[in-house]
């Protein structure tokens, strides 16, 4: 593989010897998987002040447990407090932030200066990372936040590799950049489509993803001042019946054309991570607090191996085909490289009808393995039956495929299928497995 970074784009990390891999954790279980599969840090949402009000967010007790779990791996837990608050959200923030610090959270990710300033005042032990919702896209703004006491900024997704290099030249600060997952097609925070379409406040967690909806494009040729033209003149313009258009309003598409779309392809920097490491990005962020365990584990697992492999021996680093194969098993949208190299063009948007489900599903979790008999105890996470083609994978690239030959329940009764969520079944595995390894199967619908 060729890295596209020019030599002058080299930069250095601010505090860390090795770039951090930062993963989303929508709930406690996902947190455990993210950490076990190799994340150096995870970010989660609490009950308040976060932008994913639909996610099953963490209570303080769950946070405490998550922090304890992460600690065993040397990993950190960050909390997204990234809303733009309204006056009525002001009360309660101080206690909330103190509690975050008290349960062992390392940092908050915040955009609203109200939250940033309050955290610095009432919970100085809590680091403040300035969120991508601040749309930070130039080095002077990075400098501003450094002077305001933030040890880290999360850049706007619109920043290029070259711009990051320049920021690194000018400012000593940790830079966090998204490397994988869904993207707002607008500048983050600069979109209130949800507010207008559904009365849901996007900047307080109510985003209903209106940018993924279908729109049609028209041109308004009415003269100014509402002098309507005559019916005869109007009849010269084609008007599509299904749209309630006024005279002189024209559809700009043909019937067979796809609808106008704002929907962006997902970001995937797997093939270009060395460029980002060389430019000095401190933390690599994976998007997706709403995504599945299978997604989080698969994506984290691959990036972990990429980072470790490149850092161990940059000169002889080779991108492995198996990493690419793995990462696409969790993808439900086509991918691109965002703004890192060139600005997105028409090929970087999704005009085609539907998102597909990811090609593979989480089928079971390995709970136990008996080396003598080669029998694994599996907790069912999705229906599977005898004869199914399955794959096992675990941290550090453990991977093999096999067929489910026969399966039994824990009492030893043979089953034709694992039908019930979380039921324990036994199957014979062809290679050793261990607790926390995952079993996946092809998604029949993909």
């Amino acid at each position: 593989m060729t890295t596209q970074v020019k030599p002058q784009y080299k930069g250095k990390r601010y505090r860390l010897d090795k770039p951090e891999l930062l993963a989303p954790a929508g709930n406690l279980e996902k947190l455990k998987f993210a950490v076990h599969y190799g994340a150096d840090a995870v970010y989660i949402g609490g009950q308040k002040y976060g932008l994913r009000s639909n996610a099953d967010n963490f209570s303080f007790e769950e946070m405490r447990e998550g922090v304890e779990f992460a600690k065993k791996y040397g990993a950190k837990v960050f909390v997204a407090t990234n809303i733009y608050a309204h006056n009525e959200d002001i009360e309660g923030l101080e206690d909330y932030l103190r509690n975050l610090y008290e349960v062992g959270i390392s940092a908050i990710i915040a955009a609203d200066p109200f939250i940033i300033e309050t955290a610095q005042r009432v919970a100085p032990g809590l680091e403040v990372h300035v969120s991508t919702q601040q749309s930070i896209a130039n080095w002077q703004t990075v400098q501003f936040w450094k002077e305001e006491g933030a040890p880290r900024v999360v850049l706007a997704r619109e920043t290029s590799l070259e711009e990051i290099a320049e920021m690194k030249q000018h400012v000593d600060i940790e830079i966090e950049a998204f490397i994988h997952g869904a993207m707002c097609s607008s500048y983050s925070g600069r979109c209130v489509l949800s507010n207008h379409f559904t009365d849901r406040d996007s900047n307080r967690g109510g985003c209903c993803q209106s940018c993924r909806w279908k729109y049609d494009l028209f041109e308004d040729n009415r003269p100014d001042g509402d002098e309507l033209i005559s019916a005869q003149e109007a009849s010269q313009f084609p008007v599509l019946e299904q749209f309630r258009l006024g005279v002189n309003q024209l559809a700009l598409f043909d019937e067979e054309d796809n609808a106008f779309a704002m929907s962006s392809k997902d970001l995937c920097m797997i093939e270009h991570l060395p460029d980002l490491i060389d430019v000095g990005v401190d933390s690599f962020k994976i998007e997706g607090r709403m995504k599945s365990i299978h997604y989080v584990a698969t994506v984290v697992n691959v990036y972990r191996q990429v980072i470790d492999s490149y850092m161990a021996d940059p000169d002889n680093y080779v991108l492995k085909q198996e990493w690419l194969d793995e990462i696409y098993k969790a993808a439900n949208r086509p991918v691109n490289t965002g703004f890192f190299y060139e600005e997105p063009d028409h090929e970087d948007h999704i005009y085609e009808p539907e998102d597909k489900p990811a090609p593979y599903d989480f089928a079971g979790l390995v709970m136990d393995y008996d080396a003598e008999t080669g029998m694994a105890t599996i907790q069912q996470r999705n229906h599977f039956k005898a004869g199914a083609e399955i794959e096992f994978f675990g941290p550090n690239g453990t991977f093999f495929k096999q067929k489910v030959d026969r399966l039994w329940d824990v009492e030893g009764n043979e089953l034709d299928a694992a039908r019930h969520p979380l039921q324990l079944v036994r199957i014979k595995v062809e290679q050793p497995v261990t607790y926390f390894d995952m079993m996946r199967k092809k998604n029949a619908k993909a």
């Binding site: 608050a85 609203d112 130039n138 097609s185 600069r190 028209f218 041109e219 001042g225 700009l252």
Partner: protein, 292 residues
């Protein structure tokens, strides 16, 4: 607009400003200062873009010139402008306006401590929140939009060009500016038409309705809000003149005798007479309950 009764105007250029009805270079600004002063009016310059590194080039000289020309304030949303102004043009008056993210009074105070004399409130707030904003900010100017469309989506992506390219209409990729009067219809909401256009800052989608608070203007006047903005973007001049005249009259009526001020039906009729029948005159978010 000055003739129509505006006592402040908002101008600038695309490189540093955003969503402006036209380009006003430094020369234009300098030339118009006399006219502005003749009307005892103020001139504010939009430096409210989301800036990338490349746009920092020349920013310092630009702000210096604005300070020399003596503009009344610059309006900004990117902290880089504050950083540059501190050294290059320390006497410039600063107005904080980050549009949809200026949502609470502690954030306002934060920017006041860093030198902003005015806070422009997000249009997505309700009446109660706007009124409270001024109560909590007695020594900071508060500005709110009272009329016109609002920006609801800003992308750096050139979505119109991309779409034309996607449907093989390459010949149209350069006709995506404001003057073409393009609009979107969402498939489930056929009655609403959302204007959109592209410029060097990307794609801008605007609301399908025009805010019009004239009927309940008294709440805002009573609240002692300092500045009322009429958004003139994508409107014919005659429309903006009418709207400015109406609000001017309302303000003057109120100031002359606050106790006997009442809304006059004739005001809204004058606006309705020039209103595009396809665009609803609405209360925006002033009376909306939003969930999240």
């Amino acid at each position: 607009m000055l003739q129509a009764g505006a006592n402040a105007v908002f101008v600038g250029e695309q490189r540093y400003g955003m969503r402006l009805p036209g380009e006003m270079t430094l020369e234009h600004i300098e030339e118009s200062m006399n006219a502005v002063r003749d009307h005892q009016a103020k001139l504010y310059v939009a430096v409210n873009n989301i800036l990338h590194n490349e746009r920092l080039d020349g920013l310092s000289a630009y702000l210096q010139r604005l300070e020399q020309i003596g503009v009344d304030a610059i309006v900004f949303g990117d902290p880089a402008v504050l950083m540059t102004a501190r050294t290059a043009a320390p006497n410039l008056n600063l107005h904080w306006n980050a549009e949809m993210t200026s949502t609470n009074y502690i954030t306002a105070k934060y920017w006041k401590k860093r030198g902003s004399s005015r806070f422009v409130v997000a249009r997505e707030l309700n009446m109660e929140q706007v009124v409270e904003m001024k109560q909590k900010l007695p020594d900071m100017e508060v500005q709110i939009q009272v009329h016109g469309m609002t920006n609801i989506y800003h992308s750096k992506r050139h979505l119109l060009q991309h779409y034309f390219r996607h449907i093989d209409k390459e010949e149209q990729v350069n006709e995506v500016g404001m003057e073409r009067k393009l609009f979107l219809i969402e498939r489930e909401r056929q009655d609403e038409k959302f204007p959109l256009y592209e410029d060097s800052n990307g794609t801008h989608i605007m609301s399908s309705d025009d805010v019009c608070i004239i009927e309940d203007f008294k709440h805002l006047l009573d609240a002692r809000i300092d500045s009322f903005k009429v958004e003139g973007l994508l409107k014919p001049t005659v429309y903006n003149e009418t709207v400015v005249q109406v609000y001017r009259e309302a303000i003057d009526t109120y100031v002359a005798d606050p106790d006997n001020y009442r809304f006059q039906e004739e005001w809204i009729e004058r606006i309705r007479a020039v209103q595009d029948p396809e665009r609803e005159l609405s209360f925006g978010f002033f009376y909306k309950e939003q969930m999240y």
